[in-house]
């Protein structure tokens, strides 16, 4: 048999495999429990892979995700008060919080258990995130009506874009039909996509942005329609927020557009009350930062451009490569992981840099999961400037750490599933073919004489899946073990663990893609 080097001796009986893989397992468990890596609360069955070490703790969301989920539930109107920053993840175990989660799960047609696991987490992303693709049909009742959760999400989106005045409240009332009709008409008029349901236009990614650009390019730049102007202002704020700039999404028309705003407030000047235009300093600052820090305009030009919301601004959001002053060089995800690693390794004390980055991640909050697609689109279009922003580099680091962690955890789970099969001593593919797995990994097969061809083929597939899933999971885990050994001498801290996952992401990915075929 070719391709198989001879074994020098017998299978090592000193427990070296258990020890090495066990160390990786402990790191994985620790990173997930501490909330260092980004993952939804483990499903209860995930606890089995860690055995007694888990102690039930993995069922809790990590701190960063809990803060995001709590904020998303508030945005959807399930909480009256905005959650404090960095609330303790222990709050998710309180009766009150679980009651709220159950209400969301009921209204969204999910399994009602009061825990934010994978299903509930992804549901929140689909309904709240600007960049997550949302299939509206997924959130309809059997009768074809929108679920209450979808209605809340639509209200939230309409508010964020400035199309209605308030976000959803705890005692939720659907937006009146007349108001919905007006929104629908506006969106159809703006996008000219009359065959698409206006709610799909609303929940789509960059649909409204592209339509606004077309509208501004076809007009002379003035916007007399108040509802349209408010939509344009808030679309701009959303896009800047997604790029990581410090601007608040509030649905308000609080910025002069073409030197006109209809938002005023009453102030006392010289003993008299007058109405003055409201200007959002944060918005102006974010616009300046956009032109100067990201697109490379000099300070005066950036300040000047921040005074207007023009077709040029929206065009730059959609086609940044035409506005940046950087050298054009597209990067792949895997190459970017190297740039991120180099950034952190250049900080001197890498562990402290990663520690500081983790603190930043907790502050960034919802932006951990929103804006990532735009960031990557900009990178692939050759806009390098954005990667120099420390916050985006931090987000990049944790993105790759998360993806690398997910690869590792999938490998551990796949190995575990294969070992469980091995411990049972047999593969159950069909009733007509029986496969025994002997303790030394030998196989015995019994084929019934009346076995159909498809049953035999199914058994072949089962054997192939079992053995290749095990092989690729061993390859990945063995690789990580070797990389961790090479990274440091002595104990491996969680920071080095994450850095290893990020640095060698592009080595892990091709093997993972092969594993995915069989896992």
């Amino acid at each position: 048999m070719s391709g198989l080097p001879p074994f020098e001796g017998r299978f090592p009986s000193d427990g070296v495999i258990t020890s090495q893989v066990g160390d990786v397992l402990d790191l994985t468990f620790y990173a997930e429990r501490k909330g260092i890596v980004d993952s939804p609360a483990a499903a209860l069955e995930d606890l089995d892979i860690f055995g007694d070490a888990a102690g039930g703790e993995l069922s809790r969301l990590n701190a960063a995700r809990f803060n995001v989920a709590a904020r998303q539930l508030w945005l959807l109107g399930y909480f009256r008060d905005k959650p404090r920053k960095n609330i303790s993840p222990q709050k998710q175990e309180t009766a009150r919080f679980r009651q709220v989660v159950k209400q969301f799960q009921r209204e969204a047609g999910l399994t009602v258990d009061g825990w934010i696991g994978v299903e509930t987490w992804h549901a929140l992303q689909a309904l709240v995130s600007f960049e997550t693709k949302t299939d509206r049909s997924r959130w309809l009742t059997p009768a074809g009506d929108p679920t209450t959760a979808l209605q809340r999400a639509l209200s939230l989106r309409m508010w964020a874009f400035g199309l209605i005045d308030s976000k959803p409240k705890p005692t939720f009332k659907p937006v009146p039909e007349d108001d919905m009709q007006q929104v629908g008409n506006l969106l159809h008029e703006l996008t000219q996509q009359h065959d698409t349901h206006w709610q799909d236009l609303l929940m789509g990614d960059e649909v409204i942005l592209a339509a606004i650009l077309a509208q501004l390019e076809s007009q002379d730049g003035t916007m007399d329609h108040p509802a349209l102007r408010r939509l344009i202002v808030n679309t701009a704020k959303i896009e800047l927020w997604l790029l990581g700039l410090n601007v608040e999404i509030n649905g308000e028309d609080d910025y002069p557009v073409n030197n006109f705003t209809n938002k005023t407030r009453r102030v006392k000047r010289n003993g008299r009350y007058i109405y003055v235009n409201v200007k959002s300093r944060a918005f102006e600052t974010a616009l300046t930062a956009y032109w100067h820090n990201i697109l490379g305009e000099d300070e005066d030009a950036a300040k000047s451009k921040s005074q207007m919301l023009t077709a040029e601004f929206f065009d730059s959001l959609l086609h940044p490569e035409e506005y940046t002053h950087d050298e054009k060089e597209t990067v792949t995800d895997e190459d970017y992981s190297q740039q991120v690693t180099a950034y952190f390794e250049s900080r001197g004390d890498t562990n402290s840099a990663i520690d500081a980055a983790f603190s930043t991640i907790k502050k960034i909050g919802m932006k951990i999961w929103d804006g990532i697609k735009r960031l990557w689109r900009w990178l692939k279009r050759g806009v390098q400037k954005i990667v120099n922003l420390a916050e985006n580099m931090t987000r990049g680091f944790f993105r790759f750490a998360t993806k690398g962690f997910h690869i590792l955890k999938t490998s551990l789970k796949t190995m575990w599933a294969a070992l469980r099969q091995y411990s049972r001593g047999r593969l159950d593919a069909t009733d007509a073919v029986h496969v025994a797995i002997k303790k030394d990994g030998d196989f015995q097969v019994l084929i019934s004489t009346d076995a159909r061809r498809e049953e035999v083929v199914a058994t072949q597939s089962a054997i192939t899946r079992f053995s290749r899933a095990f092989y690729f999971s061993c390859r990945l885990i063995g690789l990580v073990i070797n990389l961790l050994k090479a990274a440091v001498s002595g104990a491996v801290g969680w920071a080095r663990f994450l850095l290893t996952l990020v640095k060698h992401y592009r080595t892990l990915v091709p093997i993972y893609r092969q594993l995915q075929q069989y896992a």
Partner: protein, 111 residues
């Protein structure tokens, strides 16, 4: 069983990976699939309610020091092609499983 315990069980059970032994049988036996425990087809055959016409149709034994042994039954009707394909898949599966374990202990073997 957690992963660590599963690996310990593997560690305790596996004794010799220096050879690969695959056997393929055909025949008809009747047994209760859900309750039957077996880790050996021969044991399964013995425990079955009926074991008419169970024959060994293919057997391969590979020792990694170079020796190998292959047996194919010489039945008049011929060995079913599907049995041979499955036998081959089991050999490949056995190799892949061993290669996986090697990936985990490469450093041990190299040192």
């Amino acid at each position: 069983m957690g992963l660590r315990n599963a690996l310990s069980a593997l560690n305790n059970a596996v004794d010799d990976l220096t050879s690969l032994h695959v056997q393929t049988f055909t025949g008809n036996i009747a047994f209760d699939h859900d309750t039957q425990n077996y880790d050996d087809i021969r044991q399964l055959i013995q425990q079955a309610q009926t074991n008419a016409d169970v024959v060994l149709v293919a057997e391969s034994l590979y020792k990694f020091d170079g020796d190998s042994y292959n047996f194919l039954a010489n039945a008049e009707s011929g060995i079913p092609a599907s049995a041979l394909e499955l036998h081959k898949a089991a050999i490949e599966g056995g190799i892949k499983t061993r290669q996986g374990l090697m990936e985990l202990v490469k450093d041990v073997f190299d040192s």
